[in-house]
Symmetry: C3
Subunit: 313 residues, 3 copies
């Protein structure tokens, strides 16, 4: 593993899941693993969970961690050969090569603009860093992928499943804003990698890009999809047909009536969550909700990835 950009490009994903579970269960001191290594974390977009869990994971491995916001005014140039006398202050080539002098690995978050699907599909910031950096790049959520969330999700399911191949349902959810595709894409890639019985349910027009998630089992009837599910993962994402246009259709909320179709299914969400819009209080506050454990697993997911990148460096 050179970079941790997407789950589909991570050949050892299952071993990352196992290692994450192991690091969660063992009370060992891992602080020797990252000794004398520096993790540089750059946020082009806001972060709370990802910021703290990744920072903590680095410190737990004994790394030096330096975290910063790139700031609003810092616009980067991506095109080759351009005459930079406009708004862009630095070419991504320099940014990536300079940060490679400071960090033994670089973790980056850069959200999509949600204005142009064509632009967002380019995933310029992360792909540019991977192209030009000389050290490993860790994706902390780009336009298209949130692979540390997907890894934490897989760790959560592995730690809670009662059958070898549980039925897992990804259920689209309403939201007052159009949201990125990164979490559902990474979740789908994780479920593909884990060989679970995976079903996706969403309204027409919300199909995830097949070039990224493969040939999914889509069930447009939400209740039918939920039948016998062991895990239900709720998440809102933008329509891919009407890109960037919000879809607040509350009939897609996950509530107790729908969860009753499942096999006493566990409920998952990456947080933050809009209560009584994405899912009802009755679901979120039930014993079957795994949402806080999921958040806690973000630390072990990050530890597993950092550990693996250090081992292979």
């Amino acid at each position: 593993m050179k970079d941790y950009y997407s789950i589909a490009k991570t050949s050892n994903f299952k071993s990352l899941v196992e290692q994450g579970l192991m690091m969660k269960q063992e009370a060992s001191d891992f602080s020797g693993i990252g000794k004398d290594k520096t993790l540089v974390i750059i946020f082009f977009s806001p972060s709370l969970r990802t910021r703290i869990s990744t920072h903590k994971a680095g410190l737990k491995l004994g790394m030096h961690v330096i975290s910063m916001n790139a700031g609003d005014g810092y616009q980067m140039e991506f095109d080759l050969g351009s005459i930079m006398n406009g708004n862009t202050a630095e070419h991504i080539k320099e940014a990536a090569k300079v940060l490679s002098q400071f960090g033994d690995m670089i973790a980056i978050r850069a959200f999509p603009g949600l204005q142009s699907k064509e632009d967002d599909l380019k995933d310029q910031v992360l792909k540019g860093f991977i192209k030009y950096a000389t050290v490993p790049i860790i994706n902390l959520e780009s336009c298209l992928h949130h692979p540390l969330q997907g890894l934490a999700d897989a760790i959560t399911i592995e730690g809670n499943k009662k059958t070898a191949k549980p039925k897992v349902v990804l259920s689209w959810a309403p939201h007052p804003k159009a949201l990125p595709l990164a979490v559902p894409i990474s979740f789908a890639q994780a479920m593909n990698a884990m060989d679970y019985d995976f079903v996706v349910t969403h309204p027409q027009g919300h199909e995830l890009p097949p070039e990224l998630v493969g040939d999914l089992n889509i069930e447009y009837d939400q209740r039918k999809a939920f039948e016998n599910a062991d895990f239900v993962y709720a998440k809102s994402w933008s329509s891919t047909q009407y890109y960037g246009i919000p879809n607040p259709d509350l009939s897609w909320i996950v509530d107790a009536e729908k969860m009753a179709f499942t096999n006493n299914g566990k409920f998952m969400h990456c947080l933050p969550i809009r209560r009584n819009v994405v899912a009802s209080d009755s679901v979120l506050d039930s014993e079957n909700a795994l949402i806080y454990e999921q958040a806690g697993n973000r630390v072990f997911a990050a530890q597993s990835v950092l550990h693996s990148l250090i081992e292979h460096s």
Copy 2:
């Protein structure tokens, strides 16, 4: 001690003062106390002194410290049962429970809006975190309390007093802006806990909430209040009668003429201070000013609280 929210609710306040003084005087290495513990610090409001002194205290105890600004756009929901399709992006229940996965203790700053006294008296952010978090919460200044400042103030007086029960005067001061009540409330609670001879002087209409500070000895004549004082603590706070309306009445400035009424009294202020508005240069630059020592004691106050929370966890 489960949380460090207010001084009145801290039964072991005197021992925190003693421990702070001890940690200041001893040259010991305290870095084993917080080993493998993580302190998460979240700022909903700006901070300089509190940010650096608390961060330093954590590092001195050997803790991992992760500090972040919550950001302007991050609005939290406090009501139960609400349908979150408006501006609030996360319920405080999730925020508190998630951060409890990452930190062994969580320190939070959240200032009042100073628009509605009724709202500010609810102290929603800190009280919400205490309600839902599963780890100790440390108050870095809320709408109503600044207990680390109050502890540093008590440490400063204990370290400088010449009699067992010194006379301490809290003197309201003018300011071009209306300021929160947190510092004077915590100072009053600290003085109550320390059993000093404590007098408060302020204009009519600036009475501190009796349900928080108890039955204070108020002297509306500032010069009379200063008579024989060993310590004078100047601080501006909003009128409680005309809440949020500035009171720039310069006749309340602390200057050399007024300090002459004291018993060669020491001058205190939590900083930052408006020179020649709150107090005159002659007072601030005199040998009797303890303002820099007070700021330095913020580190030992935070060390004492962190130490106590670790011991009792």
Copy 3:
């Protein structure tokens, strides 16, 4: 060395260069040098390279490092005796004395406003901190000086020079914005201290302040200046005649045609750089470009300065 404010005021500059080179080449563990020392870093202006390289240098020396942005709203008072009932919230005297309680040394960045040359020449923030602080101050780029950049530049030239006294050319460059004088002033002071054959080339009206850089060898014909140069350092800076007015004159770009006049010269720039404005892609992407090595040397420059300040404290 008490503070690290400017290169001209640093009597041991050459030994800082040697120490930086030594720390770069040795694989030793320097983490004992800064044990139990705290480095406080305050940014009044944005930073990426300086932020990360200085933070990393502190951690490498085993220091506790606490870094923060001072924030937009935090305006400081510089005048003595003023009645602070306006926009300034804290006098620099308090800021400096308080931070001296928290840090064993304080590093500060504060850019010029580029509105008034007279104001910027006062360099109020850095000079105020040096005046009032009781611990060493490190300049992370002020209105007038960027001495860590100048030190990294000298380390880079020392590590790459092939003759004892190479010819070094500082070449003014066009830019869509007027830029500060700090980098060229510190570079000129560094070159003066190193006794290289130093030539400056720039358009009329861009003369650097002689009271800061001394009697420079100025050659107004850029191509003539480049003849037989071993190193060419490109940098834009504001006109000193028409202060703050941009000069985008692209005829001053550093390109391959001009570099052909040099003695197979190395190309330097402090980054970020506007490609095809300051220098052409052909120069930046050539084997003779030292720009990434220069950025990497920022860490060793900072390590050298921190080491020296700790030794002399």
